[in-house]
C-alpha cells in the first residue's frame, strides 16, 4: 500500500457554539500532533467535546479559532476527498443494501473511476479483511451488532484512507464482541499504515489500542494530559490481563477523577 500518510497538526483549536440561549465552549485551545501512522486515543467523559473535536479535524465543523494543518497546509485549502475514513458508534448501514453493497457504497460515491465489478471486488476484499467472508449477501438486519460494525469498518477501509476517524466505534457492543473487534483493530493497524484517531470513553480500550492517550476534561473540552502508552506493538489482547496494563488504566482513571472533582469545586 504505497501512499503518503499526512502529518496532521491541531493548532490551538477552539470551538464555541453560540445560540440564543447558550454559549457553549465545546473545545478550548486544543493542540495536538497526529504524526503519520500514529494511533491516538482520545478519552474523556460524555460531553467533553471529543466528537466535536473529531468533526473539526475532518472539516465538518469550522473552528471558532485556531486551525488544522495537513502537512503544514491549512485544512480548508486541501481536497479532503478520500482523506478520512469514518467509523461511528452506530454502524449507519443502509438497511436495503447487502453487506457487500454497503461497503461498495463508499466506493460508488468517492471512486467513480472504478467500474461496478471493480468496486464489488474491492468491497469483497475488505469484507474478507474484517473476517466477514460468506456474509457478503446478508442484509444488515441479518447480521449481529458486531458484524454490522465490521461492515462499517470495512466500508471505511475500502477507500484506503490515510487517516481513520473512529468515534466510540465499539461502545454499543457487548464486551466479548468489543474485545474481539479491539484485537482485530490492533492486527489491522499493524498492516494498514494508517493514522488513527480513536475517540472512546473506555479507559482500558484507549490504553490497549493507542500509542498515546489524550485525556480530556468536559465543559470546556480541554486537553488535561497526554499519556504515552509504553507497551510495544504488535500488542495482543492478552495485554489486558497484565499488571502494568491495570496500573496504567488505574492511573488514568485517578487523573480523570481528579479533574472531575476539580470541576465540581470550580
Amino acid at each position: 500500500m504505497a501512499r503518503t500518510v499526512p502529518h496532521i497538526s491541531l493548532k490551538d483549536l477552539t470551538l464555541r457554539y453560540r445560540s440564543k440561549r447558550a454559549d457553549v465552549l465545546a473545545v478550548d485551545r486544543v493542540s495536538l500532533e497526529l504524526p503519520p501512522r500514529s494511533f491516538t486515543g482520545v478519552i474523556g467523559p460524555s460531553g467533553c467535546g471529543k466528537t466535536t473535536l473529531l468533526k473539526v479535524v475532518t472539516g465538518v465543523l469550522r473552528p471558532t479559532s485556531g486551525e488544522v494543518l495537513i502537512d503544514g497546509a491549512p485544512l480548508a485549502t486541501r481536497n479532503l476527498a478520500g482523506m478520512f475514513g469514518y467509523v461511528f458508534q452506530r454502524p449507519l448501514l443502509l438497511p436495503w443494501r447487502t453487506a457487500l453493497e454497503n461497503v461498495a457504497l463508499a466506493a460508488e460515491v468517492a471512486r467513480k473511476d472504478l467500474s461496478r465489478s471493480e468496486r464489488l471486488r474491492e468491497a469483497r476484499r475488505w469484507l474478507e479483511v474484517v473476517n466477514l467472508s460468506g456474509f457478503e449477501n446478508k442484509l444488515p438486519h441479518q447480521l449481529s451488532g458486531g458484524m454490522q460494525q465490521r461492515v462499517s469498518l470495512s466500508r471505511a477501509l475500502v477507500l484506503q484512507p490515510p487517516t481513520l476517524m473512529m468515534d466510540e466505534p465499539f461502545a454499543a457492543l457487548d464486551e466479548i464482541t468489543r474485545e474481539a473487534l479491539q484485537d482485530e483493530l490492533l492486527r489491522l493497524w499493524g498492516v494498514l499504515e494508517t493514522t488513527v484517531l480513536f475517540v472512546t470513553h473506555s479507559i482500558s480500550e484507549a490504553v490497549l489500542l493507542s500509542e498515546r492517550v489524550v485525556v480530556m476534561t468536559p465543559r470546556p473540552g480541554r486537553i488535561a494530559d497526554v499519556v504515552e502508552v509504553p507497551f510495544p506493538y504488535p500488542r495482543q489482547g492478552s495485554l489486558r490481563g497484565s499488571p502494568e496494563f491495570a496500573l496504567l488504566v488505574q492511573d488514568i482513571r485517578r487523573r480523570l477523577r481528579e479533574y472531575d472533582s476539580a470541576q465540581l469545586v470550580a
Binding site: T58, V60, L80, A81, G82, F84, Y86, F88, R90, L92, L94, P95, W96, L105, A106, E108, V109, A110, L139, H141, Q142, S144, G145, L159
Partner: protein, 259 residues
C-alpha cells in the same frame, strides 16, 4: 403455507360470509322491500344480469382513478422534494398547503362541472386534489427522517446531492411514500365517485346515482359492490408494487429481531 395461516385466512373469509348471511336472513325475516334494502342474493343476481352495463361504466371510473392518483402522486412527490430541500419554498407554500387541506375539496365539484363540463376532467381533478395532500406530507416526512449522520457521512465522502438523494434519501423515504400511496388511492376512488355524482354521464358513480333516482336499489348496490372491488384491486396493486420495490422492507418486518 402453514396451518395457522390457513386458519387465519379461513376465519377472515368467514367474517365476510357471516356478514352477508346475516344480511340475507335479516331481510327475509323482516320482509323488507328490496327498494329499501335488497338481499345479497338479489344484488348478486342483478350484478350478473347487469354485468355488461356495469363493466362498461367501470372503465371510465378506473381511468379517472388511475389518472387522478398519478397526478396526485407525481405532483405531491415533486412538491415534497421542493419543500424538503428549499427552505424558502417550504415557508412560502406551507400555509397555503394547510389551508388548501382544510378546504373541503368535494364542495368544489359543482364548480368543476362549470369549468370542465362533463367527462373525465372534473372527476380526475377532484380525485387528484383529494389524493394530493397525503403524498406531500408523508413524502416530506420520509425525506426528513433520514439519519443526519448518514448524510453527513456521505458528504464527507464527497457525495453530490443526487448521490445522496437517490442512494440514501429516496430509498429511506420509500416506506413513507408507499404508506401515502395506500391512503391516496382510496381517496382517489372517493374523489372520482363524487365527481361522477355531480358531473358525469358515465362511470360507476353515475350508475349509482342514476339507479338511486330511478329507485333501482339492487342496481345501486351492484354498482357499490363493483366500485368496492375496484378500490380493493387498486389497493392490492399498490401493495404489489411496494412488495416488488421494497422486498428488503417486507423481509425486515417478517424477521423477528435477533439482536
Amino acid at each position: 403455507m402453514d396451518a395457522q395461516r390457513i386458519a387465519r385466512i379461513a376465519g377472515q373469509v368467514g367474517v365476510f360470509v357471516a356478514f352477508f348471511v346475516l344480511w340475507e336472513a335479516l331481510v327475509r325475516i323482516t320482509g323488507m322491500k328490496p327498494v329499501i334494502l335488497p338481499p345479497p342474493s338479489l344484488i348478486f343476481v342483478t350484478m350478473v344480469k347487469q354485468w355488461p352495463y356495469l363493466i362498461q361504466h367501470t372503465w371510465p371510473t378506473a381511468l379517472a382513478i388511475i389518472g387522478g392518483f398519478l397526478v396526485a402522486a407525481v405532483s405531491g412527490f415533486t412538491l415534497a422534494v421542493a419543500i424538503t430541500y428549499s427552505r424558502w419554498i417550504n415557508e412560502l407554500v406551507y400555509p397555503f398547503l394547510i389551508v388548501s387541506q382544510v378546504l373541503p375539496k368535494i364542495a368544489l365539484a359543482p364548480l368543476f362541472l362549470i369549468w370542465f363540463g362533463f367527462g373525465l376532467m372534473p372527476k380526475l381533478v377532484i380525485a387528484a386534489l383529494i389524493a394530493f395532500f397525503p403524498v406531500v406530507v408523508n413524502t416530506a416526512r420520509g425525506l426528513n427522517s433520514v439519519e443526519p449522520e448518514l448524510v453527513q457521512y456521505m458528504r464527507s465522502l464527497g457525495a453530490s446531492w443526487t448521490d445522496i438523494f437517490f442512494k440514501i434519501s429516496l430509498p429511506w423515504a420509500m416506506p413513507y411514500i408507499f404508506a401515502s400511496f395506500k391512503i391516496s388511492i382510496t381517496l382517489a376512488v372517493v374523489g372520482v365517485v363524487v365527481g361522477e355524482f355531480v358531473a358525469s354521464d358515465t362511470g360507476l358513480g353515475y350508475v349509482i346515482e342514476y339507479a338511486n333516482i330511478s329507485l333501482e336499489t339492487p342496481v345501486m348496490f351492484a354498482g357499490i359492490l363493483v366500485l368496492s372491488l375496484l378500490g380493493v384491486l387498486f389497493f392490492l396493486a399498490i401493495l404489489l408494487l411496494e412488495a416488488m420495490i421494497m422486498s428488503w422492507h417486507a423481509e425486515i418486518a417478517e424477521t423477528p429481531e435477533t439482536m
